[in-house]
Symmetry: D2
Subunit: 408 residues, 4 copies
């Protein structure tokens, strides 16, 4: 059904090569919706701290595809249980799962009203090059691909591969983010994980002998969260970005936004259309930020300058209510609106959740006796972590006043 | 003279950490001219082939700074010969040497009339944040920094560190480009090179025991050129970019360019001002390319779409004149102007030039007897390479007609 | 006091270079007692499983020295608190801490009556080349070096560097064993650990910002134990080795052992002398094993052949008493003495012990408020692991009967 | 014909895993002749300089097997041209090609009269466990395996895989020796080499697009020779070893050698039998060296002590005849016999020989036009190196007299 292609490859520092064997994969990669992912960074704000983390969702998406491809090739018994057709459907889902991201992914969702998973689905099903490529093969193909991404596909093994607590997506981004930040925290033994995967009933499971590789992967997640994804300076950058988005949203009906037409279009639509989302990427947004430096609105002017020249907000741990009151007093004394100049966040993350309701999200271990158990029943260390107090961190962000180099 | 700073660091996959010890370095990094380098990719077109090569001149510049810093710290005898003041001047030159790059560096120079080295000098000496930071310390400091970059500084050791055939700039970009492309070609033993460096008279030299590390470095250059920098697909992308710049230059007085004001400003100025250059970066250009997709000019429309969606030109080796004539005939039959739709290039590169007139550009080896010789006199392999026939490659680039997916 | 040496280096894959700056260090490395460590493998039995883990205690000892040296150079405030003399004393302790190991280190202690730490002390204080080198500098030097190794030195910071739950010894062996086995489990961020170390009072502490690096190190320990050090096949090899040592010990007064004079000497001495220990290394033992293949004693003959040709014991998890009884019955039916042909072990390991009595063994974290807390009070994850059920594993080892390739 | 085995693996830092799929491979690995390779170091004397280079011929042999296995799996068209039976024959040849090495491989051949290739053949064809394993499958199998190793097999592609200027043996040892010494010189892109291999007629060839990977491999060889294999300190160690072997050979009929029976047996046999070779390994030799420290012969005593405690000979470049005369005078004045206490060597190495008579040893490149050319016709750099002056180095080795630490 799917036309074979002379084997093509992309070099990749994480996987050595990304191997393409089918025309439809190649065509999707060369569609304009997929090429747009070159212009959306994988780590959003983190490259303000880890300055080499400039990698895009384009290369990450190729990586998720490649891990999924390897699983079909290397996980014993898997290829026998899944038709060739369904394998390609799954590979397409792996490749395309991030299509719906906006610029500065997570922060952007504060003004987007629809989350990126939903947009991904709309892009695959809508009037797009991707849809045309898929529909030309089989009119049901777009829906089949989308159903894996939104977990409605009947074969739970396929959704597990692409989206679960041990999926190709997480595996790729941990390894990739570790490589491009230059930290060692995210490393774990991908080869061993794949080598110890098996199929049991309707589930992907890990052999008992692979349990340490799974524990290592769980710890990699834990460390990447606290060292990279939740880094206070990244959050300070995100706080400015979030404030800017809020200001733009508040001004969305104003003529002041006419200079940023793609953004205005997106903001004023009740439910922004796919075309409006696709018209935005990080190049466009950075161009707009740079234009906003000469806006008539002083808040846009200030916040956009902060973003481009890295004059971030300062931050402190929130230990009681006193600090917030003090910051507000200080902001008001300086005529700064707390709606934009004060942000708080509380972050917590458990690297593994044993109580997910959707059981296909869990990680399972199969013993020598073929009995399958949920990970935290078998791993003392995962049990300890899951039962332990969740680590939480609350910070308040606001501009340092009357100091050159407020971002320090 | 230079105020010390509590030690600050940036993580970096190549060097582990970038270590900052002085306020002036920190302030320059946080200037808007330096932050702009985050928006200019180190490898221009190459990330169309090596899709993970998305790293910027920002992190490269930090790397050049760090290697230079290590040399002052680790090269025996070097710190004794150079005052603390001159060390910091050199570090500033290392950090700032790439400030003058435009978007898509080398291709951009086809329309810029001034080369990037000259712009770097103008930025350091002009009305910029960088200049203000430097002048506040000493009014002569900007000129001193610039004099290292333009090779007019009296102390040749300092220019050798930053710009010669064995300098911190080349060392960083080879290692960095190899890391971010995921190739192993560019790797060489930086630690050993630094460990075997010495000072002899007014020259940096390499101890005889380090000669293999130098040969390895020369070969790394050779391989990176042919495998990465001169990759045919990158050149095909550059051919489209170059054609688009030519079209824009031809249209520069036209109203059609009013929609791209920063670009128009730059193109119409007889000698573009520093401010005009600084207003351009790759985010701005990509935004403009995306706007050009709906230009009234069909050539702008076509070329910008090719760029954004990777519909590159095809290419062939030029072996005789026949092929060019055939391509022109084909283009004319399809109403395509060869001025924009045909490109040729001939590339050749020798990884080491023993006959440079400026002797501070050469590499020197010091024997056990303290005699200093130029590299190709001592290394049979470098002599062989330098005497050998230079490898050259000529290609012609043009659009494939009547085929879906012309970029294949 | 200590004579400087022209800087000498050893290449090392873990640390890049081992840097030697003092004559006494160089002389100790070239002593015959230290060179003997080239003939004792770091991982004993593990290279039967991880076949590339052939590295010796010689290179490990150099690594422990190098990490300690870097700490004095890089840990802020440390060098100021410790005299140059005491720094060198500590470096000597780091270098020499493993001198007292016998062949096949831990298994060998079953017949050695004195543990390797004690032998290390005896070698440093006894009539040895090492002692001569140290005493020639200062007659008190051997005792000072030994006092760091046996924890009696008054400056607890020095003992902490060399021997605690976060010491140069553990740091080197985790990284080294991971490298030479080719597993990624043992990796952690050594540079960050060193960068975040500080001195507070009489203690080495880790800054709060380094806590994730410490957690990563703790997890590296955990994983290396279960994946490498406690690997069942290694233990099967050790079970054979242990049986052979027991047989040799039982036969120690017999003429049968006259063919292995160095071993006999060691076994018959009530408290084996230092000279007797130093006369043994793994080359000698393997030669003896190879000679034992033609011993008149059938048990020696069988066990030594098993060792050299990797015909290890089989193993099973012990879940109840039934299995042991069955194995004994089977052995007796085959005229195999369970004293030698049956082994059991129960292994458990907690990667961090918060309740050590000797407080210099613990890991401490210093907050921004300069308050120092024990690690498990600050790290939720270490607290969870320490409070959790300890993972334990019990196995029984015995020869498979009537099967070619019993070791499978 | 060959029985399949449940997939078994060995971890390996170079290849990730060594994959075993057939019973005969597993059985050969577990034979006593193959296990003996655990006791012979790959790099002989080099671990005196690169102290971590303690890896054995056992793990190297597994590596050569694995590369050959990957070639059959990954080189396009190869598996179609070679029967399954011949593939396994080739894998066996790859695995077993180093069986005939003696302790301290190359130096040992000075007293062995038969080279290691010949001994490998004798072991495969003789009365050994290996021969029994192979013959049990097919009586012709031992000869078939041997014929690949000695180049008499009719299918030249098979000999090219295992033994040519671009073979699995060289590929593995360059990568492995680089890893275990911790140098980066030996690295090249194995994956790309394999990816660009093709079959053309009766030859393995490399696609034109892989030429840079081949050049990189050639340079890796060049650098490893000069930095590792020919390192002066290793040669100083070999000079002592060689002198000791000469002395032993001169004393071979004497009673003095009765204490080293396995060695005596080997030396006195006119053509040493396979059993005599197999009875020797590095553990045995080091035990004997350690015993020789108390020999009645003063030369054995001195040389063996030098070896074990690393009191190597000093060395100097030979620039004229004066130095040799001076050394002889000095030795005679000290009653040292120049036959044992003076050594000279001249080393030269060309990393690629375009004029080999046996054409299956050469490297071939296939162009887009399917024309096959010998490497130096296509690669300017290899042509330059091959045409250039061969680098040569002559040194004289002798003991430093009247100086403590003569080995320095």
């Amino acid at each position: 059904m799917f036309r074979k292609l002379t084997h093509r490859v992309f070099r990749d520092p994480i996987h050595g090569y990304i191997n393409i064997h089918e025309q439809v994969i190649w065509d999707c990669i060369n569609s304009k919706e997929f090429q747009r992912l070159r212009r959306i960074k994988q780590l959003g704000a983190s490259h303000q701290v880890y300055q080499t983390a400039e990698h895009s969702r384009f290369s990450h998406s190729l990586g998720v595809y490649e891990i999924t491809r390897r699983m079909f090739e290397e996980v014993k018994g898997l290829a026998d249980l899944v038709t060739n057709y369904d394998q390609t459907v799954t590979l397409l889902a792996a490749l395309l799962h991030d299509l719906g991201h906006g610029p500065f992914s997570h922060t952007f969702e504060s003004v987007s009203r629809i989350d990126h998973e939903k947009y991904t689905e709309l892009i695959i099903l809508g009037d797009t090059e991707i849809n045309a490529i898929l529909s030309a093969i089989d009119t049901r193909l777009p829906h089949q691909v989308a159903s894996i991404i939104n977990h409605s596909h009947p074969n739970k093994i396929l959704t597990q591969l692409v989206s679960s607590q041990l999926d190709a997506d997480r595996m790729d981004y941990l390894l990739r983010d570790a490589y491009f930040t230059g930290t060692s925290y995210g490393s774990f033994d991908l080869n061993r994980l794949i080598r110890t995967m098996r199929v049991s009933g309707e589930r992907l499971v890990i052999k008992e002998s692979g349990i340490h590789a799974v524990e290592d992967y769980i710890m990699a997640r834990y460390h990447m969260y606290w060292n990279v994804y939740f880094h206070a300076t990244s959050r300070a950058y995100e706080a400015v970005l979030y404030a800017l988005f809020r200001r733009l949203d508040d001004l969305k009906e104003s003529d002041l936004l006419d200079k940023y037409p793609r953004l205005k279009t997106f903001l004023v639509e009740e439910v922004p259309r796919v075309e409006s989302l696709l018209a935005l990427d990080e190049a466009v947004m950075i161009y707009y930020f740079s234009e906003m430096q000469s806006s008539e609105d002083p808040i846009l002017r200030d916040l956009s300058t902060r973003l481009l020249n890295r004059q971030l907000f300062a931050y402190e741990d929130i230990e009681d209510d006193v600090i917030e009151a003090e910051v507000i007093k200080m902001l008001e004394a300086n005529n700064l609106d707390p709606r934009y100049y004060l942000a708080k966040d509380t972050l917590g993350q458990t690297p593994y959740h044993p109580y997910e309701k959707e059981t296909s999200m869990l990680i399972y271990i199969i013993g020598r006796d073929q009995e399958v158990k949920e990970l935290s029943e078998v791993s003392e260390i995962v049990a300890a972590i899951s039962a332990g107090k969740e680590k939480k961190e609350s910070k308040i962000f606001y501009p340092k006043i009357k100091k050159v180099g407020a971002y320090e």
